[in-house]
Amino acid sequence: MTTVDLQNVSRWYGNVVAVNDISMTLDPGVTGLLGPNGAGKTTVLHMMAGFLAPSRGTVTVDGTPTWRNPAVYRQLGLVAEREAVHGFLTAREFVHASAKMQKLPDPKAATEWALNMVEMAPAADRRIETYSKGMRQRTRVAAALVHNPQVLLLDEPFNGMDPRQRMHMMGLLHELGDRGHTILFSSHILEEVEQVSGTVQVIVAGRLAASGDYRKIRRLMTNRPHVFAVQSSDDRRLAVALIGEKSVTGVEIEATGMTVRAGDYGSFTRALPRIALDQGIRLRKLIPSDESLESVFSYLLEA
């Protein structure tokens, strides 16, 4: 089990603070690094990957600093944002070169395994410069995966991929996460993060705005009412009963059901079944409608 640890990490360029006092620990599984453009995601990734020295604080993989320590690449793979590949090589040559530089015992087998992982084997004998953006991206992922690293860092990995390739890449990251690899990928597209990972690290203006499962983060935002979509056998009667409940701050009746705002997530979800039972009303639908990553993210940005 490999963990990546950032302790009080700051990075500044002259007078500009890019990353401000961030501490986080990445455990095995898939984590999304989320933030608007220019928030400092790439800076954080580069420090994790040993390509940038933290101005203050420490960045370690299993206790070993990543800066000026090439040995760390035995257990770490990086897919950088910049789409730079040796275009004059074929994908097979490119991944094979990575395997050889990793000094793997059987570079050929590792190459085939990695190419198959990203579904690039059929096109692997063409020069990389003839590939589409998505194929290049998958080739780079294969090169970063060839030594089966415990930690894989990906900077905006879904850029330029078509929907099918995107689905495949998401599946791949899931699979690696389930196998106990520590995967961190950055993105500014919420749907991507939402589909791949429940755990997020949200960076806003160089600071860690939130960390953990985004549904839990939402629940901790007690200053914002939680919104639920509710349908029952008698919405109007249920609305009357609910408004008497302390944790409920508002009810709206709509044609297809009702929207309930609750100040406290826990009290409301405990109270609702009790109230429905007392009133003899059957609940048909209860969906927290603002638990999406998008609403969590917009709340964090506004905060």
């Binding site: 995601k41 000026r68 690449y73 590949v85 040796h86 070169a97």
Partner: protein, 236 residues
């Protein structure tokens, strides 16, 4: 051949800039051949062609194209990251790249210089020029490889060194010759086969010791710089 050297060589010859290596050697051998064909006295053309074109332009410019090509181009387009994300000692990466740079520069410069020296005087002078240009290729390549890691404009800075430091200051300010690779090369060639066509301005010990310092010093500094290679984020 190490994988790093293999990728470096493929990259070097896969780019169009490799074609830039051809004109100068052809020009040098062509000029020497013409002078020889028309029976021009070697004392009239030997120094301007061998030193003025061969040692002052061909050798450093070829080394500049190759020396900045083996690392600078990869730094520029970001492909260096693929090599750097491997658990390879940075020393091995620099040595592989330096090996390719020296090999290609030495062959590209030494062969035409050998031919031109032979046409101008004798096989002895040709050999002396070839050996000295190999030594020069080591020193120049180390210097230009280091420049690729120190600045985003290694070619420009390299040209300033060749044209301003060696070409201009080296001619008028005698003190600058101690730090001029061109002068070491002239001295070494002149000591191997003494000839009136070459005029050494630094002593052999200075040439050998300073040449060694250039090679080793620049290589060690390059290794250190590569260890601290930083990537600037594009979005942050």
């Amino acid at each position: 051949m190490s994988t790093v050297a293999w990728i470096t060589a493929r990259g070097l010859f896969g780019r169009r800039r490799a074609l830039l290596l051809l004109p100068l050697p052809l020009l040098l051998v062509g000029l020497a051949g013409l002078c020889r064909a028309y029976d021009v006295r070697p004392s009239d053309w030997g120094t301007p062609v061998l030193v003025g074109l061969g040692l002052a332009v061909l050798l450093p410019v070829v080394s500049l194209i190759v020396g900045t090509g083996v690392l600078g181009s990869e730094v520029d387009d970001g492909t260096i990251v693929h090599i750097l994300t491997k658990p390879l000692p940075r020393r091995d990466i620099i040595l592989a790249k330096l090996g390719v740079a020296v090999g290609v520069s030495a062959v590209t410069a030494a062969v035409p210089l050998f031919l031109a020296g032979w046409l101008a005087d004798s096989v002895g002078l040709g050999l002396a020029l070839a050996v000295a240009s190999v030594v020069g290729a080591f020193a120049y390549s180390s210097l230009f490889l280091l420049l690729s890691l120190l600045t985003r404009r290694p070619v420009l800075l390299g040209l300033v060194y060749i044209l301003v430091w060696e070409g201009l200051l080296g001619r008028f300010v005698s003190g600058t010759r101690v730090l001029s690779i061109e002068q070491y090369v002239i001295t070494i060639a002149d000591k191997i086969t003494p000839t009136a066509l070459l005029e050494s301005k630094v002593s052999l010990p200075v040439a050998v010791v300073m040449g060694g310092i250039f090679v080793v010093g620049c290589a060690i500094y390059s290794v250190d710089r590569l260890r601290s290679f930083s990537m600037a984020g594009e979005t942050s």
